[in-house]
């Protein structure tokens, strides 16, 4: 069968998807294999538009849809939606077909298929090693039924990459491929050009776990800088993490203080001076704000008063005119006007006039009076002065003593708390004793029907302190008042006493310290984080580490086969880019191989793209059409069937029950 058309090569990785035509030098499209759904409210808006299939409307629809679901490179700010990113993958297997369909839509429209009636090009697609049959079946159905592709070819990324590598090592047909993925790490033995599927092993730790581990570590080291950290994790991992040749050795070096000082990496986060001073001046600023608010309220009140005054004056004028009418003996008119104003008779009118004039007078008086200084202003100006009859130094010494007492009490409480937390201490036993006494008295009360003689508990407020004492996680909440008093003392002491120093009362110093608080220290993490590939137990994963896994896989083979495998150990995948990985593996291999035996480790010269390039190579090969599953074959053999080739999985039919 002839394949006249160009082929579309898709390396569908769980981290990044690479798409391109088989005759181009590198992928035309690369994007993070994720999509993000919009918030609900925005979706509702677009749903209200009438849905029609007319051509101009479809374009509008499409624009809307693009605005709705963002995929891959269309995600404008990936940090902002980090929590809402969805992937079609679980580990390295596609499990969410709605998401996969969105991704395909994105791929095909980016590759210029908009306006065409079907995807009239064969597709080469990578899939997970030993991809479950049900997953492949759905992929096949999706591509043939939904996109109407003419033919398909599935392959394993690691093997494609190996084919690409073989270009430089044409004579080599045996290898131990170690493929470092985003979710998984594979150890793949290849003998005589054939993958030994039954002896392949997969470690479910990969780049994602490395990123996540660093993220969690930094998050707990610097809980304050959570947001600033999350956007820098990947960069930190890519640029500064490396694999230690001898992990324990390096750790012991880090344990030395001078080594730490010399090698620690400090990362300065963006630090805003203004916000820092804000933080320092909160108390004063709060007061400032409060004063502003009070002024505004006063303003409103004044305005209202003025309006009322105006009203009153107008009303008074009317009433005065009425009175004049009476004086001028125009009684008929007067009666009518009285009714209009709802006033009963002359006396009442006089009384009304009296009260209103009084009110106006009162308001005017208040307005002209000197505005009283506000209480807060007062408080702000007044720093406590030494009481009369006591010298300042005496007073200060007194204050200092009080402050020290408070501090001691605080420390004692903390001590007690710590002791209580442990068993077998006096404090803990005391606590248990109090609890049991309380429980006993509770029971007794219940047994007596609730109305026996009162033991007087609660008559004294201090009785309730027992509960505070037995509260193991006793917070300092009850000593808020004490804290406040301590702050006050410190303020006074700072004001009067030049010698008083409670650490950092120098503003410049404080600013400097604040800036330093915005630094991340990145030291041991550089080797600790990628080390999880070799020691998955560090993240609570019970699987064997990479070195142990290699030894495990090698044991399946005879001594001669083992030698053939280790003579060409091939590293590929994005995580193979870690500095020091090759050296570390060499050290581990040396340990696990027999004494004085040989081995060789080769790194891929393009660990990221070699899978895609390898797939291109194969697509350009002469016998490529033999590895295509055509639509005809699909209709003939069902959706599970695919044609095997040198880089593919091995087909086995799902047994019918």
């Amino acid at each position: 069968m002839a394949i006249p058309k160009r082929l579309l090569i898709i390396d569908n990785g769980s981290y990044e998807c690479r798409v391109g035509w088989h005759n181009s030098k590198k992928p035309d499209l690369r994007f993070r294999n994720v999509l993000t759904k919009p918030r609900k409210d925005r979706k509702k808006d677009s749903n209200q538009l009438p849905d029609s299939s007319a051509t101009p409307a479809t374009i509008v629809d499409e624009l809307k849809a693009n605005a709705e679901i963002q995929i891959g490179n269309d995600i404008t700010n990936i940090e902002a939606v980090r929590a809402h990113l969805k992937s079609p993958f679980e580990r390295n297997v596609v499990t969410n077909w709605n998401h996969q369909e969105q991704i395909f839509d994105y791929i095909f429209s980016k590759m210029g298929f908009d306006g065409e009636t079907s995807i009239d090009h064969p597709i080469v697609l990578t899939e997970a090693l030993a991809n479950p049959n049900s997953c492949r079946r759905q992929m096949t159905e999706l591509l043939f039924e939904c996109y109407n592709v003419p033919a398909l070819s599935y392959g394993i990324d690691a093997l494609y990459s190996w084919h690409h590598h073989q270009q430089q090592h044409k004579s080599v047909s045996d290898a131990l491929i170690i493929s470092f993925g985003y979710n998984t790490t594979h150890v793949i033995p290849v003998l005589a050009g054939k993958m030994q599927l039954q002896h392949v092993r997969r470690l479910n730790v990969g780049g994602f776990h490395i990123n996540n581990y660093l993220f969690r570590l930094m998050q707990m080291k610097y809980p304050v800088h959570l947001n600033a950290i999350s956007s820098r994790i990947e960069k930190l991992v890519h640029d500064h993490c490396h694999i230690a040749k001898d992990y324990r050795d390096e750790l012991l070096k880090w344990a030395q203080l001078d080594y730490y000082e010399a090698h620690i990496m400090k990362i300065q986060l963006p630090y805003n001076q203004v916000t820092a001073t804000n933080a320092l001046l909160t108390a004063e600023q709060k007061q400032e704000k409060r004063r502003e608010l009070a002024l505004r309220l006063l303003d409103i009140k004044n305005r209202r008063e003025r309006e009322k005054l105006q009203e009153d004056e107008d009303y008074l004028l009317v009433l005065r005119k009425l009175r004049q009418l009476h004086e001028q003996q125009k009684l008929q008119k007067f009666e009518r006007a009285l009714q209009q104003q709802q006033v009963a008779n002359l006396e009442e009118l006089d009384k009304l006039i009296g009260t209103i004039t009084a009110r106006i007078k009162r308001v005017k008086e208040r307005a002209t009076a000197q505005p009283k200084p506000s209480k807060q202003q007062d408080k702000l100006d007044k720093l406590p002065k030494p009481p009369e009859g006591v010298s300042q130094s005496q007073w200060l010494a007194d204050l200092r003593e009080k402050r020290d007492q408070l501090q001691q009490r605080k420390q004692a409480r903390q001590q007690q708390r710590q002791e209580q937390a442990k068993r077998h201490t006096h404090a803990a036993q005391e606590r248990m004793r109090i609890i049991s006494t309380l429980a006993r008295s509770e029971k007794r009360r219940k047994a007596n029907g609730g109305d026996e003689e009162d033991d007087g508990f609660g008559m004294n407020d201090n009785d309730w302190d027992v509960y505070k004492r037995i509260n193991r996680y006793n917070d300092d909440s009850d000593s808020d008042a004490e804290n406040e008093r301590m702050l006050e003392y410190e303020k006074i002491l700072q004001h009067y006493d030049a010698n008083f120093d409670d650490g950092s009362n120098n503003a410049a110093m404080q600013a400097l310290i604040a800036a330093e608080n915005y630094q991340l220290h990145f030291g041991v993490e550089a080797i600790r984080v990628p080390e999880i590939l070799f020691q998955p137990s560090m993240i609570g994963c019970s699987e064997a580490g990479l070195a142990e896994l290699i030894a495990f896989v090698l044991k399946f083979f005879t001594g001669e086969e083992q030698q053939r495998l280790v003579d060409h150990v091939y590293l590929t995948g994005s995580c193979a880019q870690f500095r020091g990985l090759k050296e570390r593996l060499a050290k581990e291999m040396l340990e696990l191989r027999p004494f004085q035996s040989s081995f060789a480790i080769y790194e891929s010269n393009d660990p990221v793209l070699s899978a895609w390039l390898g797939a291109c190579l194969q697509a350009n090969g002469k016998r490529f059409s033999e590895s295509l599953t055509t639509k005809h074959l699909y209709q003939e053999h069902g959706s599970e069937y695919f044609r095997e080739h040198s880089a593919s999985n091995i087909f086995y039919p799902t047994p019918k029950d």
Binding site: T95, Q198, R201, Q219, A255, G540
Partner: protein, 112 residues
């Protein structure tokens, strides 16, 4: 998983096609269960037989906070630590951070 909420976009190159509702999203665990009931030949390698074996080497102990080799465990918080200085700083940690470190290491206490 809210898979049904995704509305399909009309595209010229697509034909109308939908998966049966129960096939749109299947977690790996479910796929594993289905495969287990399929009575495959016992030596047939599948995705789930290729998992790495559990490690037989004793897990090395590292300090939860600094990552240094840790000979000690705080019996109260169960955190591992390497030296006295670290122990001191540990005492100030709030409980959520302590729990964070423990879950990161995959530690779950028997009591809960």
């Amino acid at each position: 998983m809210e898979t049904t909420s995704v509305q399909k976009i009309k595209r010229s190159f697509k034909r109308p096609f939908v998966f049966p509702k129960n096939c749109v999203y299947r977690p790996l665990r479910q796929i594993h269960n289905i495969e287990r009931n399929q009575k495959l030949p016992p030596d047939q390698p599948t995705y789930f037989t290729l998992n790495a074996p559990p490690s037989l080497l004793p897990a090395k102990k590292y300090s939860d906070i600094s990552g240094l080799p840790a000979p000690y465990v705080d019996p109260h918080s169960k955190l591992r630590f390497a030296n006295a200085e670290e122990y001191g700083s540990m005492q100030q940690l709030p409980s959520d951070i302590i729990n964070g470190y423990l879950t990161l290491r995959g530690f779950t206490s028997a009591v809960g």
